[in-house]
Amino acid sequence: MSAATVYVPADSSARAVGADEVADAIAAEAARRGIALRIVRNGSRGLAWLEPLVECATPSGRIGFGPVRTQDVAALFDAGFPNAARHALAMGPVDELPYLKSQQRLTFARIGLTDPLSVDDYVAHEGFAGLRRALAMQPEAIVNEVIESGLRGRGGAAFPTGIKWQTAMRAAAAPKYVVCNADEGDSGTFADRLVMESDPLMLIEGMTIAGLAIGAELGYVYVRSEYPDSVRQLEQAAQAARVAGYLGRDILGSGRGFDIEVRMGAGSYVCGEETAMLESLEGRRGVVRAKPPLPAIKGLFGQPSAINNVVTLATVPIILARGASFYKNFGVGRSRGTLTVQLAGNVRHGGLIEVAFGVTLRDLLEKWGGGTASGRPVRAIQVGGPLGTYVSPSHWNTPLDYEAYAKFGGVVGHGGVVVHDDTVDLAKMARFAMHFCALESCGKCTPCRIGATRGVEVIDRIMAGQNVPAQIALLRDLCDTMVSGSLCAMGGMTPFPVLSALDNYPEDFQKGLDHASRRNPQKPAAVA
């Protein structure tokens, strides 16, 4: 009898809750009982609350157990593990879990199924099919396919990817570069990290296709230093791809060459802004550049560069493999394809939810989230990262679609959704947004550098109940200056969470007033 196969994820979302120890415990317990096992360290399925999610291969598909702790392992074996076991942690067939089954996983179709570093596994699951097709195409045809698919930048700005590539393709200078922005600094987002750790070959394939399209032979991946596991995983995956002939001077005997270099950031949030990232890659302080010139024409080292986010590039292989019209058929309006929602924060069932554009926050909370982790009512939801708005409950039924969100001043951004329960203080969150901007501002433009610090001071006065109406007017004025006068999204969008907190939760900005008037009952502090 051949050894049974057991999967224990090695993604950091699983390792952070003990997956390595669980894998060791399973191996030890199997050895003790004389059971032959093959343990595969797969990627994560993105069902964070079930991690470590252990799976066993059975004739009727993979069955899951989770979340497994080391102390559960012996009992699992007692119940018949690795065969179908009756145990409190048994989840049944993983593919049938409603959380997964109700998704449309296109970009993340393979995630958690495969050993992320196995080229064979990748190829067996449609990997490199897009690259093979691209190798037989002219650059214009590749670019047109991406334009046709409607793919827009998933890093937050939602600029049409194919148009960006077209500009870089048409630029006459050489060399050109593909630059992957893997500086995923937004709280509430982890899709980039999942790609890099759980399906890194997909990113490598997407970058290679981008290289073929624009005429670049070198790509850089700029990964944040907070993700050391992603750096290691990408480097190993690139090496495996080189050995198998998918990267290097002569890709699959086509005579075309492409390779990648992984670079590590150093703890600067603003380096997620593309021009600051270019400065950092060039070895300087991550200070934002003024545009124009467009990076597609004069980007990295002054050369034409296609700069895309991880999920954007990771979506290119399936578009090339299945064709633009396949991808375009998902979605609504001008938001084509799928959105990778990252449901995070105070939520019972957090994780990665890839669905066609058009889903609502209410759906996400009810169909997937299962309420808050604390069991208290949901009070606020921030969409689109630290620079996104606290979406008013009146828009929780608005479809997540770039244009529908833009209409009410919201941003879909990278698809990060952070849930807060009713203990949240929105004045405090607004203060945090300003504080974070003050910490991370690159310092080049005044509205951001000085404005953020003044913003913290003004909100402090509001929270202390000093001259509240006048201070609120001042805060609005300051936000207006930051939105209109900042050089990049850091200063230009920090007012979004601040103003949305103020507009949708005004009562939280009056609390200081109550305290102040209680302290000083004769002299109401509300007088401006």
């Binding site: 982890f190 907070e226 950031g265 070895g283 300087r284 982790a373």
Partner: protein
């Protein structure tokens, strides 16, 4: 906490330069290597790095001081980074930070007197669906309760450093 011998600094810088000099924009990779090897970037190394990459000392100093990740003093044996970003805040990151500071007897951004632990804030470890999270050396931990924090810190070897963040 003591500094590193001059000879060690020189050889670490030489190795990093050797490894990266041919690359374009080599400064960050060189600084990462030096910090990875020595635990920090000693001020004495700046001149050699600048000379090796044909930069001014001011340029190198400017880059080191711009990025939060680079440090100019030897780190504590165990650097504990607590995520303080929004998703972790929604799950009690602030209370966890208060607990950690009381438990270790040291404030955020500082090191315990015996040099064993340092507490630093970090803004997002990409584990936002399993908040709150933290990183000790290069090892990430999620769903961290105060009890779990005590267990993890209690299990750290007092003598062996947690892997330096590269």
């Amino acid at each position: 906490m003591s500094g590193v011998a001059t000879a060690d600094i020189q050889s670490a810088v030489a190795r990093a330069l050797e490894h990266h000099r041919a690359r374009q924009g080599a400064l960050l990779p060189v600084l990462h290597d030096v910090q990875h090897e020595l635990g920090y970037i000693p001020p004495e190394s700046i001149e050699a790095i600048a000379r090796g990459l044909n930069l001014s000392r001011a340029e190198v100093h400017g880059v080191i001081t711009y990025y939060a990740h680079f440090r100019q003093q030897a780190p504590a044996r165990h650097v504990i980074q607590l995520c303080q970003a929004e998703a972790c805040q929604s799950m009690g990151a602030e209370a966890l930070a208060t607990h950690a500071q009381a438990k270790l007897g040291c404030a955020m951004h500082s090191t315990t007197q015996d040099g064993r632990f340092a507490l630093e804030p970090v803004y997002c470890l990409g584990l936002c669906a399993s908040s709150p999270s933290m990183m000790i050396g290069e090892r990430v931990h999620a769903r961290v309760t105060p009890e779990r924090f005590d267990q993890l810190v209690g299990a750290l070897d007092p003598a062996t450093p947690s892997g330096a963040t590269t």
